[in-house]
Amino acid sequence: MIIQMSQGLGKTCAIFFLTLIFSLPLGIIIALLRMSKNKIVSKITQFIVSVLRGTPLMLQLLAVTYGPYYIFGVSVSRNKLIPVVVAFAINYAAYFSEIYRGGIESISIGQHEAATILGYSKFQTFVRIILPQVIRRILPSITNEIVTLVKDTSIAFTVSYQEMFTIGKQIANSQTSFTPFLVAGVFYYIFNAIVGFVMGRVEKSMSYYQQ
């Protein structure tokens, strides 16, 4: 049982890492659109983010997986990893975007002005001066979301993606046993212990200066 479930762990990790790889940068883009001086862009982005945060991830996952079939008649792809990652990445990007926005707005205007006077372009100012300080500040909130993501990967069972929890649930059904759920709980806990350790190290490595 543990062997079967740990095979699903690979797919759990795939959801986890792919979601982070796509959602972390996407969140920055959404945050910048949200902060756009163009009112229309900003309002539309705000609305999209509110929908993504205001509806269940499970519903969004179902919409991304089966929506194309109902709307365009496209057959549901057999590889469920793609819709799972798309749904997760977009949903998490929405949450990350608000964290980024808070971080970006917390940086003093003086930092922007100093960079402007020195001739940095807008892009250089953001990438070299603002973003590193933002990341340092928002890291604890990001860690929080990442911990939630580890547990949210289990939502992929709704579209029968064979990740660890889905396999555990199948075993539990066939053996009428609760043990697979306990095993799953231990797996998630260990996963998050590792996340906590790694993020703690990252935070420490960035705390070489005072804010």
Binding site: E113, Y120, R128, Y209
Partner: protein
Amino acid sequence: MNVLTINNIKKSFGDNEVLKDISLAVNKGEVVSIIGPSGGGKSTLLRCATLLETVDDGIISYMGDDVTYIDAKGKLCYKKDLNKFRKVFGLVFQNFNLFPHYSVLKNITDAPIKVLKRDKNEVVSEAMALLKKMGLEGKENLYPCELSGGMQQRVSIVRALAMKPEILFFDEPTSALDPELTGEVLKVIKQLADEKMTMVIVTHEMAFAKAVSDRVIFMDGGVIVEQGKPEDLFENTMNERTKQFLQNYNK
């Protein structure tokens, strides 16, 4: 040639007219201090000159080159390539605005390397020489948070100098410092004045302004009330408003 020429600039924030028709020219090598009560428009003038604020009307030019122009509809516009002008001047802020995540050395060298695309080794050796000159030898690997306010302000002066500006602006450079630390910063500015660095200094340090300036400008209510040689303005002013301001200061 004038490094900076400002002609008839006006600036309002909403209904509040902060600058009412200000004109000012700064020659190469000249040190100009701007004094006056808070809210008199000193800082706004500096922020307009350094292009952090846009003026509503008037002309600003650096080295004879206009920053603004009037378009076909008669509207005042700023030229597209403002970075060309930003290379001409530097600004030292009241709150230093050093980059907290960069070491002292990187604060100084990053812009010359990344913006001016200059050779790294050359920039670093120049930065080290400037640090030494400013009494900051051995501090290059520290972070701003590890320095006193006076040191931070001196680093920010070095950061501005590393861009080799033609003119350096100071916006109340000692206002955020403990009285004990203002001396070391003023000393450094005095040193630059002796080297004929062109400077415009907004300050509340009257004794300093008197000692260091070639010309002092007294601003109040969005206009230049009076300007002249420091000894004339500080000791022999005929202007009632200037007298009143200086008296309040000497109390």
